[in-house]
């Protein structure tokens, strides 16, 4: 459970707030995607949730933030680590072990789990991310996409109550990015993990998110379901996002008065709605 009320943050040495008046809540099994242009506040949100701001990134915090019942800005690293697992854009910055199975086991050993339990969780996690059979492989020999799946396997094995991801797909190919989101999706469905994912790929967010948060200049400019987000194409463009081609076309057709009602929220809906306008064309 994550709850933010009127959260603000000003980094030391900076004038304006990095976050200002941000409120939202999310519960178990929900996947929230946070997005926005550069310096919109999304990474600051991430840092507040995992307690690295203000501890590592000093600054002044205001408002109230509860992660699993207590304030992460006041908790110790170990306490936070027991609840929250963070995944970053660069897997090389997170992988520390020589082999794949050692990597997944590492955090479990730190937690003091029994050997049998560790072995079970390692093989279960590797299977869930599609790395079964890679147990003895050297981590350095993996491709970028495989490394990021390994990082996710470590997260899966921990069964965290809260999963935070900061642009975890930015170095992946489209197939790898979808696979990454499927793993997150699986964690919320099977383990009831509350996931907050910073992302820039709108297609993925529309497909997987329960809720989308759009940040602009430190404030929450939009909060709603993917279908609701699709009704705000200009806001999404202003947030530095690339709109899916189908949404661009539907928006253009609505501007021209050819498409009525609300904008579609998936490619299939868009093709159906536009296809009705051009039965001759679609039949070609």
């Amino acid at each position: 459970m994550i709850q933010l009320e009127s959260v603000g943050f000003v980094y030391d040495g900076q004038e304006g707030p990095a976050l200002d008046g941000v409120s939202f809540a999310s519960g178990p099994g929900r996947l929230v995607c946070a997005t926005g242009a550069e310096c919109s506040g999304k990474t600051t949100l991430f840092r507040l949730l995992n307690g690295t701001a203000p501890r590592v990134f000093p600054g002044t915090f205001s408002g109230s933030i509860r992660v699993d019942g207590s304030d992460p800005t006041e908790r110790g690293h170990a306490e936070i680590g027991a609840i929250i697992t963070s995944v970053f854009d660069d897997p090389d910055s997170q992988i520390i072990s020589l082999t794949v199975e050692e990597e997944v086991a590492f955090a479990l050993v730190q937690r003091g789990l029994e050997f049998d339990e560790i072995a079970r969780r390692v093989s279960d996690a590797l299977a869930r991310v599609g790395l079964a059979g890679f147990e003895r492989r050297h981590t350095a020999s993996l491709s970028g996409g495989q490394k990021q799946r390994l990082v996710m396997a470590s997260a899966v094995a921990l069964r965290p109550r809260i999963l935070l991801v900061d642009e975890g797909t930015s170095a992946l190919d489209p197939e790898g990015a979808r696979r990454f989101f499927s793993i997150v999706d699986d964690m919320r469905a099977r383990d009831g993990t509350t996931a907050v994912v910073i992302e820039r790929d709108l297609d993925l967010m529309l497909e997987f998110a329960d809720e989308i948060l759009v940040f602009a200049r430190g404030r929450l400019a939009f909060r709603g379901s993917p279908a609701e987000a699709c009704q705000k194409p200009s806001l999404l463009r202003d947030a530095g996002l690339r709109l899916p081609a189908w949404l661009e076309l539907a928006d253009e057709l609505r501007e021209r008065g050819l498409l009525e009602g609300s904008l579609p929220s998936s490619e299939a809906e868009a093709v159906a709605a536009i296809g009705e306008l051009v039965p001759a064309g679609a039949a070609r």
Binding site: G145, A171, V271
Partner: protein, 276 residues
């Protein structure tokens, strides 16, 4: 400018690249595409001598990379790594850009001008005195780009240069690369973003499991369903949308906004015909 002849490469005896041949001329903008793990990054590392061929030859600006010193190659080949943190070394953005200038032997008198120009092109003029590692990933990626631009290399190798950029910065970076190609530089881009490949590249080199599966125009790649499947690639979303709706896209490609308008024009025309 780049000539790769029967290149094979192995890492710890595992073959990564198998018998590749292609060349890139001055002024060409070439995209190297393929799934994660196809060997794209390994191939790029052969273009600036970071890796030497196991078999075959690679020559860049007339230098055989097997014999040329890495420093000689570095002067001619600007290399942007996918992960900017692998190439940022200095305490300020200004020093970071100067680092490349010093090591490429650029006369001191030119530094200030070159630093200012490169920073402006990478949208970093206000950040010259910042610590690069305190900047966002998006800006760090542009710091690495500015450092490469400042040395004015003959060949630009860009490994996912826009992976951390938002839409506006992506366009800025790509337009910059296109401008350099028009001024006679050879540009080799690795990207998973097929919209960018369609819009900017003159040619696509398709790499699958270390083999050159195709060397063709992007439009040709995106209309070959079998090739796309083998390379685990998809046509750009707008191409798939046009096909799903039975509409045509201008063969010349172009800005996304233009393509969207072209599709909307066709829908409007068909809707009018339907109404009659």
């Amino acid at each position: 400018m780049i000539r790769v002849d029967r290149l094979s490469a192995s890492v710890r005896k595992t073959p990564i690249l198998r018998d590749l041949s292609f060349s890139v001329k001055p002024g060409e903008f070439v995209a190297l595409v393929g799934p994660n793990g196809a060997g794209k990054t390994t191939l790029l590392k052969h273009l600036n001598g970071l890796m030497k061929p196991t078999a075959g030859t690679v020559s860049v600006c007339g230098l055989d990379t097997k014999r040329a010193r890495t420093s000689e190659l570095a002067r001619r080949v600007g290399f942007l790594f996918q992960n900017p943190d692998q190439q940022i070394l200095c305490a300020t953005v200004r020093e970071e850009i100067a680092f490349g200038l010093r090591h490429c032997g650029i006369p001191r008198a030119e530094w200030d001008g070159r630093i200012a120009e490169a920073a402006a092109r990478a949208d970093l003029s206000a950040k010259l005195d910042a610590d690069p590692l305190m900047l966002t990933r998006s800006r760090r990626q542009r710091v690495a780009l500015a450092s490469v631009l400042a040395t004015d290399p003959e060949v630009l190798v860009l490994d996912e240069p826009t992976s951390a950029q938002d839409e506006a910065e992506t366009t800025r970076v790509m337009e910059l690369a296109r401008g350099l190609a028009r001024r006679g530089k050879a540009v080799v881009l690795v990207s998973h973003d097929m919209d960018l490949v369609a819009r900017y590249a003159d040619r696509a080199l398709v790499l699958v499991s270390g083999k050159l599966e195709a060397d063709c125009a992007p439009a040709e790649l995106f209309s070959d369903a079998g090739l796309l499947a083998r390379a685990m690639l998809s046509a750009p979303p707008i191409v798939r949308l046009a096909r799903a709706l039975g509409l045509d896209l201008p063969a010349s490609g172009g800005e996304r906004a233009l393509l969207v308008r072209s599709l909307a024009d066709q829908v409007a025309a068909l809707a009018r015909r339907e109404a009659v």
